[in-house]
């Protein structure tokens, strides 16, 4: 059916395809090949490739190994690196593969200097893997019964090749499936681990250039456990005011691992943690009573655990659990003092009792009320008066006398020890001596010398001196064995009046006072000077003292500065207690300018200028001139009249 010519055409077509120089494979055969095919070479090593021509291609006309040229990435390889092995084989050598790129091609210059590619190979250059180092493993408890072991290592230098890492582990009699890291080359997690069997662990790194193995680690996984922190932590109060009981659940059974614990706690609001001594929690337990706490105080607790023998890792700290200790009775009585106002009548006093609220660690709860008891010691038959007060002050109207005031603070548990204040009829006992102050950064230190008699305590009063408002007293108590105290809350550049009273068992000393500044400054304004009286050669100057708010310190002196228009300035220093000064030896009928400066220890401030003109004539000078002149005139007139009369008579 097929014609003869069709068969011939097909055969010719087939022959043509077979003999085609196209080296793409299939029915087409390449003219040569390179060995090795796609090598992987160590960086810096030497390498020789051979291009081998097929015998069949030699017939295409004058194709010999001597015509072969090598190229790397289309760049010609120097002919010095070639060697003609024989008619059909050419080699190329590279002494250092660092310069080798891909692809490496074998080409030939055929007749007519036409370059034709014979074969090409890809060349991969890299490094053998380094020995993995620093292999370490930790077993994490991820849930109650589940543990995973994560091992990490240093994979070593970059190899530029595909390098596989495997974490291998085995028992004496059993090798387990390798752990293949996912997406990383320096860690792997094993989920199937068993405690209490010595396990050998190591890392193997493999690539086309070789293999390296880390040092082998032999460990019982029970010795590298990081447990979960104790769970379901709870706090129970009410046992004692200074005790809270902590309870928790261990998620590792005693059979697997005995535990030890660290318990830490802090007062809520404070950042400092306190720790229960570790020796007290060095064995497996599920509860612990923490003692020595403050009553009625909120605490936060946290706990962690690890293997009892200290081998392994501490768990994370558990979530904080807060709890409050119960109330206890107040530990001390409130400090108490009084301010006596006898201004309206010396025989009757208005006594303002003042006391300070207890600090939380003294109150030990919520103070519900204060109980004040007043006993008249001058008259034993007088009934004791009792008052229940919810504020921290109470005012009494008392007849002048000696009283004993007792104060207790009461909360839901009980009453504090009593604070006792003796209010004697007069402060006749010895006062303190040598009262002085000294600024100390932001505090003002007040010191005194104790009297000879035994002092129970001292009361230090202070108030801000002001020209526009009353001196509101603040006070503080110091023990009888101290002779100095720091006052806090003192503001700079403000004048304070400080008074110290010694309190004895049977009376009270009179108060000694001193004024003080924490810090002085120059006055905020200078004195305003004016003349009270101006004469021919003198002028009386007057001024007002600066208010205490304007002074900013103790005024050490005033300075008067005065001058004429073209004269030198004269300076006079005046005692700070004065409010008048007379300038003398002034020039008459002259304009003077005067100003005043007030000075403290920290500077001076000058007031506004004031001008005045001295008088031309002194006091009585005009009379001294006019009267004689008038008298003289009168005399002359009289003499003249007398003369005229005498002349007529003649």
């Amino acid at each position: 059916m097929f014609s003869r010519w069709n068969w011939v055409a097909c055969g010719f077509y087939l022959l043509l395809n077979i003999c085609s120089p196209d080296a793409s494979g299939g029915l087409v055969q390449s003219c040569g090949h390179i060995i090795p095919e796609s090598p992987v070479l160590a960086l810096g090593s030497n390498f020789t490739a051979l291009c081998i021509l097929n015998e069949s291609c030699l017939d295409f006309g004058n194709i010999y190994a001597s015509q072969i040229i090598w190229k790397i990435k289309n760049r010609l390889v120097p002919k010095e690196q070639y060697r003609e092995i024989n008619r059909t084989v050419s080699s190329v050598t590279f002494n250092d593969t660092s310069s080798l790129a891909t692809p490496l091609t074998c080409n030939i210059l055929a007749d007519g200097q036409i370059e034709q590619n014979i074969y090409g190979i890809t060349v991969t250059v890299g490094l053998a893997p380094e020995k993995p180092k620093n292999l370490s493993c930790i077993v994490h408890q991820v849930s109650r019964f589940t543990y995973v072991m994560t091992c990490t290592w240093n994979p070593g230098r970059h190899t530029f090749l595909d390098t596989q890492f495997r974490l291998r582990y085995s028992w004496p009699e059993e090798i387990f499936p390798d752990c293949i890291p996912k997406d990383v080359n320096n860690s792997c997690t094993i989920t199937d681990i068993q405690f209490f069997v010595n396990t050998e662990i190591w890392v193997e790194a493999t690539n086309a250039l070789g293999k390296a193995e880390s040092d082998h680690l032999v460990v019982d996984p029970i010795d590298i456990v990081k447990p979960l922190s104790p769970q379901n932590v709870s706090l129970t109060s009410g046992i004692l005011p200074t005790v809270l009981q902590l309870c928790w659940e261990n998620w590792i059974s005693d059979a697997v691992m005995m535990l030890k614990f660290n318990i830490r706690y802090r007062i809520v609001g404070d950042t400092n943690w306190l720790e229960v001594p570790s020796e007290d929690t060095a064995s497996t337990r599920t509860s612990f009573s923490v003692q020595g706490l403050r009553p009625y105080t909120e605490y936060a607790f946290s706990i962690r655990c690890m293997k009892e023998d200290g081998v392994g890792y501490w768990s994370d700290w558990s979530e904080e659990k807060t709890g409050m200790t119960i109330e206890d009775q107040p530990s001390k009585g409130p400090p108490i003092w009084r301010i006596i106002d006898s201004s309206h009548s010396p025989a009757f006093w208005t006594v303002h009792l003042l006391w300070k609220a207890l600090k939380p660690f003294e109150a030990n709860g919520v103070i519900l009320q204060y109980e004040v008891t007043v006993r008249d010691k001058s008259s034993l038959s007088s009934p004791v008066k009792k008052y229940n007060v919810t504020s921290t002050n109470h005012t009494l109207e008392l007849r002048e006398g000696t009283y004993e005031v007792t104060l207790v603070a009461r909360n839901s548990v009980g009453a504090s020890p009593p604070s006792v204040l003796l209010i004697p009829a007069s402060n006749s006992k010895a006062p303190v001596k040598n009262l002085r102050t000294l600024p100390k950064h932001d505090k003002l230190w007040v010191g005194w010398t104790a009297p000879n008699s035994y002092v129970l305590k001292y009361v230090i009063e202070w108030c801000l001196v002001s020209s526009s408002s009353d001196c509101i007293i603040e006070w503080q108590i110091a023990l009888g064995d101290v002779q100095g105290i720091d006052l806090k809350g003192i503001k700079p550049f403000k004048c304070y009046l400080i008074t110290v009273y010694p309190l004895y068992a049977d009376g009270q000393g009179s108060g000694q006072s001193v004024k003080a500044y924490l810090k002085q400054d120059r006055p905020s304004k200078g004195p305003t000077v004016q003349t009270k009286k101006v004469g021919k050669a003198e002028a009386v100057l007057t001024w007002n003292h600066l208010t205490v708010e304007e002074q900013n310190g103790f005024i050490r002196n005033y300075t008067i500065l005065y001058k004429t228009i073209d004269g030198n300035e004269t300076v006079v220093t005046v005692d700070p207690s004065k409010t008048e000064y007379t300038l003398s030896s002034l020039t008459s009928d002259t304009l003077y300018t005067v100003r005043m400066m007030a000075s403290t220890d920290n500077g001076s401030r000058t007031g506004p200028d004031f001008t005045f003109t001295t008088q031309k004539f002194g006091k009585g000078e005009i009379e001294a001139i006019v009267v004689p002149v008038c008298l003289a005139f009168l005399l002359i007139v009289l003499l003249g009249v007398l003369f005229c009369f005498n002349k007529r008579d003649l």
């Binding site: 019964f145 085995s170 028992w171 004496p172 009699e173 059993e174 090798i175 199937d192 068993q194 405690f195 209490f196 069997v197 010595n198 396990t199 050998e200 032999v218 019982d220 029970i222 059974s253 005693d254 059979a255 697997v256």
Partner: protein
């Protein structure tokens, strides 16, 4: 002939999770493997470096763990099998009907004898637990906690066998111990599979407590 231990798992000293030994038994027409412990000197124990002085304490801890978890495992097993096992376990789970290695040692027995008895016991248990686990995966695939506990117990048993192999080889040069395994549950009905499992586990609870008591003086730190 008994195969000598090689670098990997040995069928006589490191039994698999239960399947292969049963094949071996089948081939031997389910006759107990006869044999005696052979005292061999000089050949050295495989993986000597991992056979350290702490292996005694490790073995004691493993037995303690198994003892602490055995009753819970058994109770959970009964619960997961449902009726009548939950309510009639005394009758159904009587281990008299099955083979269980004798554990006739006490605190005064020779340590070597105790170690060999332990090996036989746990080799048997390892195989049995493997069977029970396979059956439960088929019968109770949703009983995740039971399967997890069976798996953990099997793992601990495997570790225990590894340590016992160390102890026997290192201290007594014993590296061949004849072990007899129980009947396979393959091909049995679901009820029979459940019953065989509970019989083994019930006996296991009894024997593991005994093993823990016996082991204490032999493996306490000296």
């Amino acid at each position: 002939p008994h195969p000598r231990p090689g670098p990997r798992r040995d069928s006589s000293l490191s039994p698999h999770t239960g399947v292969m030994p049963f094949v071996a038994l089948l081939l031997l027409q389910r006759r107990p493997v006869a044999g005696r412990a052979l005292l061999v000197t000089g050949s050295g124990c495989p993986s000597h470096g991992l056979c350290r002085s702490n292996v005694q304490e490790q073995t004691r801890r493993q037995v303690a763990v198994l003892n602490a978890t055995a009753q819970e495992l058994f109770s959970l097993y009964l619960k997961c099998q449902g009726e009548p096992f939950s309510s009639e376990s005394d009758k159904l789970c009587n281990p008299a009907g099955i083979f269980f290695p004798a554990f006739r040692v006490n605190r005064t027995s020779e340590r070597k004898e105790v170690m060999v008895a332990m090996y036989k016991l746990f080799a048997f248990l390892n195989a049995s637990l493997g069977n029970i686990t396979r059956d439960q995966e088929e019968l109770n695939p949703m009983a995740k906690e039971l399967l997890e506990r069976l798996h953990n117990t099997t793992k601990t048993t495997r570790g225990l066998i590894s340590n016992l192999t160390c102890l026997l080889c290192k201290n007594y040069n014993i590296f061949q111990v004849d072990v007899r395994y129980g009947d396979s549950s393959k091909g049995k009905s679901a009820f029979k599979k459940k019953q065989q499992g509970c019989q083994v586990l019930r006996k296991y609870v009894q024997v593991i407590g005994q093993a823990a008591r016996v082991l204490l003086p032999h493996l306490s730190p000296s």
